[in-house]
């Protein structure tokens, strides 16, 4: 049985999304967590990826312009 490759920083940064999605196989995930426990740089990187996703979630939604909204409500009414 072969051991999975060690997770170094340059490999960890390519695994973060699979890690956050819960898509890693168990041995790789264990190694990644072991690495995170010892490496502040990778901890910061992971946090920044999470922060990036959170910041995106804070972008304001676009709005439908009022005339378009009125036109659609009118189309809905006519369809009846």
């Amino acid at each position: 049985m072969t051991e999975p490759d060690e997770v170094d920083c340059d490999r960890l940064v390519e695994l973060v999304t699979e890690f956050l999605e819960g898509a890693l196989d168990a041995p790789t995930e264990r190694r990644l967590v072991d690495h995170l426990a010892l490496c502040d740089g990778c901890g910061t990187y992971l946090e920044q990826i999470r922060d990036t996703a959170r910041a995106l979630g804070d972008l304001p939604p676009d709005r439908l312009p009022d005339p378009a909204r009125a036109a659609l409500l009118s189309a809905f009414r006519k369809w009846s």
Partner: protein, 218 residues
Amino acid sequence: MRVSLPPDAELVERLRARDEAAFALVLDAWSGGMTRLARSIVSTPDSAAEVVQDTWLAVIQGVDRFEGRSALKTWVYRILVNTARRRGAREARSVPFSGVAPDAAERDGPTVDPERFAGPGEAYPGHWREYPVPWGFRPWTGPERQALDDELRAVLERALAGLPERQRTVVTLRDVEGQESDEVCEMLELTPANQRVLLHRARARLRAELEAYLDDRA
């Protein structure tokens, strides 16, 4: 940001009964996200607005045929994506998307500058030469949570606009819109693995742009 709507079964029943208040509910809850998603596929804000309108018209026409095999919102978004792609193809911005695996440019190559890691001849190959600096400026977390300031928002919007289309569409649905990965795969007809690759590359690139901006700002 999420408006709580009645459950799908009730919504669909009310829409089929031509209940205008129910239509206004979904129109107001989803049009903002739909416009943003449309903008990730077509080239101008005007086209995006038209795509959203055409989608709603198709929804009005089609709701009697909705079979409930997916969430109502997923069904509406799928109509949106198809409408936007047809239009994007005409505008020659969009490339055929569905079911296509990420190509080499989307899949290969490191997402972090290799110069930031020690090389094979050095003391700790594959390790950070210098750790990323924790962001002191994180207005989107913590008890003092506040909205993004205008400058940061502009940086993010610009970075998002600069992504390749498929990455932009996936990260918009997942992180801006907060859709679940299985819903996104269904809307875009992507495998879970391909969806993750596109999300990964998008987030990594956006992180790098935020880092460049926040390091300067610090």
